[in-house]
């Protein structure tokens, strides 16, 4: 394998890892504060893609489309937390998990009813350009994905580490009861986590829709399962662990599907990574034992 091909595969893997990271980070945050496996997060990711497309068709402006998609997804996430999960928190977590699966299926059917069964194109001509340097080609949407992911994670790090809101979220993630005794509004913190995670997922949905020029009802299926694997691999509730796992998966998939004739799909690779890691390090990459 020559250096050009290796360089191109690294770009491919980075872009893929960024996409996975955008869905995994929301799942990790939500698991961190509520200990819920939020399957319907993949539905929000899909909703973000549809909403972004709708806004883009109306305005022709990608920035507006992203703002609309992220804002609407944030509201949707908050509504799901308030009206579906919150009433179930007193019950065993399996109840919320089943509700989440049901909600995800409902969302997929809702998208099909509203938008039709065919995949829709999300063509942004401004991002169709390709830039080649040293034989390595990077498309406009690759740059948006890589740049957007970096910007989002820097902003997220700042919010979580340097603001009072982030302090409250971390406190809730550590211990809800202690956070309450410290006067932290737990419900508000949880709601904010859902809003932030959903907005990031919507960004991912729009980016992937442009990358593949396709918005379709089941686009969240596989990435949703992978997201769940990633939060386990990363260490339950660990945001940085989920991001690290996402990039590792991006690289593993690129390497294994390309250079090894494994009879495994990408999903199979993610699940294999999950099983191996649980055997070797049950607490996940950055989780605490």
């Amino acid at each position: 394998m020559n250096a050009t091909v290796l360089g191109q595969q690294l770009v491919n893997a980075l872009a893929l890892g960024s996409v996975y990271a955008m869905i995994a980070v929301g799942l990790a945050m939500i698991y961190g504060v509520l200990r819920i496996l939020h399957i319907a997060h993949a539905g929000i990711y899909t909703a973000g893609a549809y909403l972004g497309l709708l806004a883009f068709r109306e305005t022709g402006n990608l920035v507006i489309a992203l703002i609309v998609a992220m804002t609407a997804a944030a509201l949707l996430g908050a509504l799901i937390e308030r009206f579906i999960y919150r009433p179930m928190l007193a019950r065993p977590r399996i109840v919320a998990l089943i509700a989440s699966i049901g909600l995800f299926i409902c969302l997929s059917d809702l998208f099909r009813i509203l938008a039709g069964p065919h995949q829709l194109a999300f063509d942004v001509p401004e991002l169709a350009g390709r830039y080649t340097a040293g034989g390595i080609t990077v498309s406009g949407i690759d740059l948006v994905i890589l740049g957007g992911t970096a910007a989002i994670f820097v902003a997220l790090w700042f919010v979580i580490r340097k603001t009072s809101m982030g302090f409250a979220i971390r406190a809730v993630a550590q211990d809800v009861e202690t956070a309450k005794t410290m006067g932290i509004d737990v419900d508000r913190s949880v709601s904010r986590v859902f809003m932030i995670g959903s907005a990031i997922a919507a960004f991912g949905g729009v980016a992937v829709a442009i990358l593949y020029n396709a918005v379709y009802t089941t686009m969240g299926d596989m990435i949703g399962y992978k997201g769940l694997a990633l939060i386990v691999i990363g260490g339950f509730g660990s945001i940085s662990g989920a991001v690290l796992a996402a990039f590792l998966l991006g690289f593993a998939e690129t390497a294994l599907t390309t250079y090894m004739d494994l009879p495994l799909s990408r999903e199979g690779i993610a699940m294999l990574m999950l099983v191996l890691l649980i055997l070797i390090r049950p607490q996940g990459l950055l989780g605490k034992a």
Partner: protein
């Protein structure tokens, strides 16, 4: 006469009168002929089943408008199999046992049709698989017919065109890993072996795959002459698009199967894909009057200009069954016999098609080329050579 006898007599009189009225009623008042349909109408593959149902619905509407079958209307009894094998078996059993359909239009995938075809066969209900290309759908099921090509034929036609007419030597094969995709690539691989083409790269992927950049990067480094790819519409669109973006195409020629003719390709390929060649079972538009009328009818019914692979084939498959009803009667055995005896049925591209003894059509393959400027598939030619389109030689690969 006692009161109870009077009541009994009145009841008998009413039954006799009702019978006489039914017998004397005009043909239009007779029970409709029930024709079964199954396909994925919800879930992941819904677009395919919904399009197939549109084709079947249109064929029935036009037939009913023209007077039905000997004055009897036809009714489509449609069920959703969700693209799921178990579900397809259940709905086919239901339409046979509860709805008492006289025949079935299979508007479903290869994997679900393979699962449900034995049910139709055991119950001796004729079934025409509209767009399932895997050999296993028809093979061994005496009551099951196909109105599509065998997948392997498409791969063989691709290989033949690439080697014999274009002179390509070095190939990459990309295979969607299920019955349909494997069939196309088997045909291509066997064909290339026979014709002296060299396969330097082969990769399988699941039907859900959308990420081909790593694979295309690898293919680019191999400098192949052509890439032969099997898959459903979204997969082909993603592969084609990313291959163009990475720079594999158009330097290398891209060949794809019949799912080039999917709405996903038309809406998703964008500025890419120019020159992609597809092996199609029919093509629209053509200059043929039959095609023009069909396209006008389809557009009037659905306000859509794209006639997808599933819509067109289901339309023709349904017309074929209706034609068989007219020739053989509306009982199951009569329809089966008439289907088997089909010698010259004109499809929507205006091509005449007959059946082999294996209940597979000798279906000419339309080689179509995607034209970016007009956003249409242009007919290159119909491949009619029996040595290329005969489905029978491919049965040996499916024991």
């Amino acid at each position: 006469m006692r009161a109870s006898s009077q009541i009994r007599f009145a009841c008998h009189a009413m039954v006799v009168a009702a019978g006489l009225l039914w017998a004397a009623a005009p043909a239009g008042a007779q029970q409709p002929i029930k024709l079964g349909f199954f396909g994925p109408l919800t879930d992941r593959f819904a677009a395919l089943g919904i399009d197939a149902k549109k084709g079947a619905d249109l064929a029935i509407k036009l037939a009913n408008d023209a007077g039905g079958v000997n004055g009897r209307k036809i009714e489509l009894v449609a069920y959703d199999d969700r693209g799921n094998r178990t579900e397809s078996i259940a709905v086919v059993r239901k339409m046979i046992e509860q709805d008492n359909v006289v025949a079935i239009v299979g508007g479903s995938l290869s994997l679900t049709s393979i699962a449900s075809a034995p049910v139709a066969n055991e119950e001796k209900v004729p079934m025409v698989a509209a767009y399932s290309n895997a050999v296993g759908v028809v093979k061994g099921n005496d009551y099951v017919f196909r109105w599509a090509s065998v997948a392997d034929v498409q791969g063989w036609v691709m290989a033949h065109h690439a080697v014999q007419e274009r002179g390509y030597k070095k190939f990459a094969l990309l295979m969607q890993d299920e019955e349909y995709g494997r069939g196309i690539i088997n045909g291509a691989e066997q064909g290339l072996k026979k014709l002296g083409g060299e396969v330097v790269y082969k990769k399988a992927f699941p039907p859900t795959e959308r990420e081909f950049r790593a694979i295309m990067t690898e293919i680019k480094a191999l400098n192949v002459d052509a890439v032969l790819m099997s898959g459903l519409g979204p997969v082909l669109t993603a592969g084609g698009r990313q291959g163009y973006e990475i720079g594999v195409f158009p330097k290398a020629q891209l060949y794809v199967g019949c799912d080039l003719n999917e709405a996903d390709w038309f809406t998703g390929i964008g500025e890419n894909g120019d020159g992609t060649i597809g092996t199609l079972e029919f093509i629209t538009p053509t200059d043929n009057a039959i095609t023009k009328k069909f396209m006008a009818d389809y557009e009037a019914a659905y306000k859509e200009k794209i006639i997808t692979h599933e819509a067109g084939l289901a339309y023709d498959a349904t017309r074929l069954i209706i034609d068989a009803m007219k020739r053989g009667g509306v009982d199951r055995e009569g329809i089966r016999k008439a289907l088997a005896e089909t010698k010259s049925f004109t499809n929507l591209s205006g091509v005449k098609i007959s059946y082999t003894e294996l209940r597979e059509p000798m279906l000419p393959i339309a080689l179509g080329r995607w034209d970016k400027a007009s956003q249409q598939i242009k007919l290159m030619k119909f491949v009619e050579d029996p040595a290329l389109i005969d489905p029978r030689p491919w049965y040996q690969y499916y024991k």
